[in-house]
């Protein structure tokens, strides 16, 4: 049996796939190495919900046979990955990070996992998450049946959520890539805090079939990877029309790096105040440098403002209404009281009291807001902003409190871009861009619906001239 060297854990998808084709090791050996590492190291960070080691080895044997016959299925063939434990996998527990669902088993597999299986990529485990993908809201990082996601850069800090295990597993080299989900921040936040590259696709581009719903009109499934290029390869596989998803946009995605527009042709909107006043002081130097890198890439930076809408009240009303309706039985039965976070419990209960007229009002404002964003993206191609304003908080810190007592600027810049872009269904890409207090920080790019290739092309170019995405925390096997 070939020895699998340790450098595999932090290689990109094409690099690993090439090594498989070169027969340095085979898919069984690679899957075994990653799965063992996930089982051994994952629990140190509360990253693992369920190991699928045996299932992965069984599937890997088919991949070995195919690759021996040079029947190649693409760059994801033989690549071990993890999936947020809100994606159903037939016959195995899918707990949604929540005690009331600990023994839940589905008799079908989520569309995205079936699609990945067809390419020969190997699911080695389900990854931990914040209970019910964060619900309407939660106060503490411990809001999960698996405990708080511990950041692999500093275990006293949070990994971010709700795709906590996905961020941890990619950062610590426990999987080559992971699937997460985002309703409002849950792919981009753990990507930023863990120092990995995360892509939130356009709403409807990736099937939600088999994924726990939190907000039918806002949930998206997307990849967390080592690079923007890896995100492109994964998105091409998982995207596409699905009759089983009522929200499906009916569109495919073809990753076309060879047809990228020139950087000089692209207009990038930003708000100087984000980088000068909103960010934490410890993070400011690297955020400012990141903006300089973007300028140096030839992109046309231009001041931009978000359309003026009450994003917070909109997103809270919509997610609370839809989420509480999803979990109505859980609430009515009283089992909601088994959840780990008191704010989460209260939020779900209160959500059932939201009058229809207020939900509908939020949804009508949302329609106007969508038009305002179409107008904005008529003038620019992409928006850029810090993904989060500083590094990951400490585990014990309440998440609904400001990180510091610093007075806040009166101009909110683009700091509301996470709720705004999620309300508008826009794609977003988080890119590691530096460090603060020894912890990763990141910038986000947001574009028009279905502009993922543009975001990824900027991400690729950014990652050609920086090496933040190649850094990884010291993790002992």
């Amino acid at each position: 049996m070939a020895h699998v060297p340790d450098d595999v854990y932090f290689q990109t998808i094409p690099e690993l796939n090439q090594r498989l084709k070169d027969r340095e090791f085979n898919a069984v050996e690679l899957a075994r190495a990653f799965a063992t590492r996930l089982e051994t190291v994952g629990p140190r960070y509360n990253a693992l919900a369920l190991s699928l080691h045996q299932q992965a080895i069984k599937a890997a044997k088919d991949v070995v046979d195919e690759m021996k016959r040079e029947r190649y299925r693409g760059p994801l063939q033989g690549i071990p990955f993890g999936a947020k434990d809100l994606l159903s996998y037939k016959g195995q527990p899918t707990a949604w990070g929540a005690r009331p669902y600990a023994g839940q088993v589905f008799d079908y597999t989520a569309t995205v996992l079936n699609k990945l299986a067809k390419t020969g990529s190997l699911l080695i485990g389900k990854l931990a998450m914040v209970e019910l993908a964060g619900g309407p809201s939660y106060r503490y990082a411990s809001a999960s049946i698996t405990g708080p996601g511990l950041n692999p850069w500093d275990r006293t800090r949070w990994s971010g959520g709700s795709s906590s295990g996905s961020g941890i597993a990619v950062a610590a080299g426990l999987v080559s890539f992971a699937l997460g989900s985002e309703t409002s921040g849950s792919i981009l936040t753990p990507s930023a805090f863990c120092g990995v590259t995360g892509l939130r696709p356009t709403y409807g581009l990736v099937s939600r079939y088999g994924a726990m719903p939190l907000s039918w009109t806002m949930d998206k499934i997307g990849p967390l990877c080592r690079t923007a290029d890896d995100c492109g390869h994964v998105l091409q596989v998982i995207a596409g029309a699905d009759h089983d998803d009522p929200g499906s946009a009916g569109k495919s995605f073809y990753y076309t790096p060879e047809y990228s527009r020139k950087m000089q042709e692209l207009k990038v909107g930003f708000a100087a105040i984000d980088f000068e006043e909103w960010v934490e002081p410890s993070a400011k130097p690297d955020f400012v440098k990141a903006l300089d890198v973007i300028r140096g890439m030839g992109l046309q930076l231009t001041p931009a403002k978000l359309p003026d809408f009450p994003y917070g009240p909109m997103v809270n009303t919509i997610i609370s209404s839809e989420g509480s309706s999803v979990f109505e039985k859980l609430i009515a039965s009283g089992e909601v009281n088994q959840l780990a976070d008191q704010k989460q419990i209260a939020g779900l209960k209160a959500g059932l009291e939201i009058p229809a007229k207020d939900y509908l009002k939020a949804m009508r404002i949302r329609a106007i807001m969508q038009q305002a964003f179409r107008d904005l993206f008529g003038e620019i191609d992409v928006l850029v902003t810090p993904t989060r304003l500083g590094p990951a908080p400490k585990i014990s810190q309440p998440l609904d409190r400001p990180a510091s007592d610093r007075p806040r600027p009166s101009d909110r810049g683009l700091t509301q871009l996470i709720p705004a872009a999620n309300l508008a269904g826009l794609p977003g890409l988080s890119l590691p861009c530096g460090f603060a207090e020894g912890m990763p920080i990141a910038i986000s790019l947001v574009g028009n619906p279905f502009s993922e290739n543009t975001l990824l092309s900027i991400g690729r170019e950014f990652q050609k001239v920086t090496d933040w995405h190649q850094r990884h925390p010291p993790v002992e096997s």
């Binding site: 419990i345 939020g347 209960k349 207020d358 404002i365 409190r401 009166s410």
Partner: protein, 68 residues
């Protein structure tokens, strides 16, 4: 001649009332489940008040589509 107000005009004219961020004090963390529920109900009511101030043309449909 009737004047049709476009969605662009409405979007440009909407006063969300959140342009200036106030330095609002952070409320204390609720201590009991009942306090937690009351705090969230209060926040939701504040949200509804903010949304009610936004003027939306009668013809605006919610951002979801029913398909038979």
């Amino acid at each position: 001649m009737s004047t049709k107000v476009t969605r662009r005009q409405i979007a440009a004219g909407i006063m969300a009332g959140t342009a200036a961020l106030a330095q609002t004090p952070v409320p204390p963390t609720p201590q009991t489940p009942e306090d937690e529920l009351k705090a969230i109900q209060t926040q939701l009511r504040a949200n509804f008040e903010t949304l009610r101030k936004v003027d939306v043309p009668q013809s605006t449909e919610p951002a979801f589509i029913f398909r038979p």
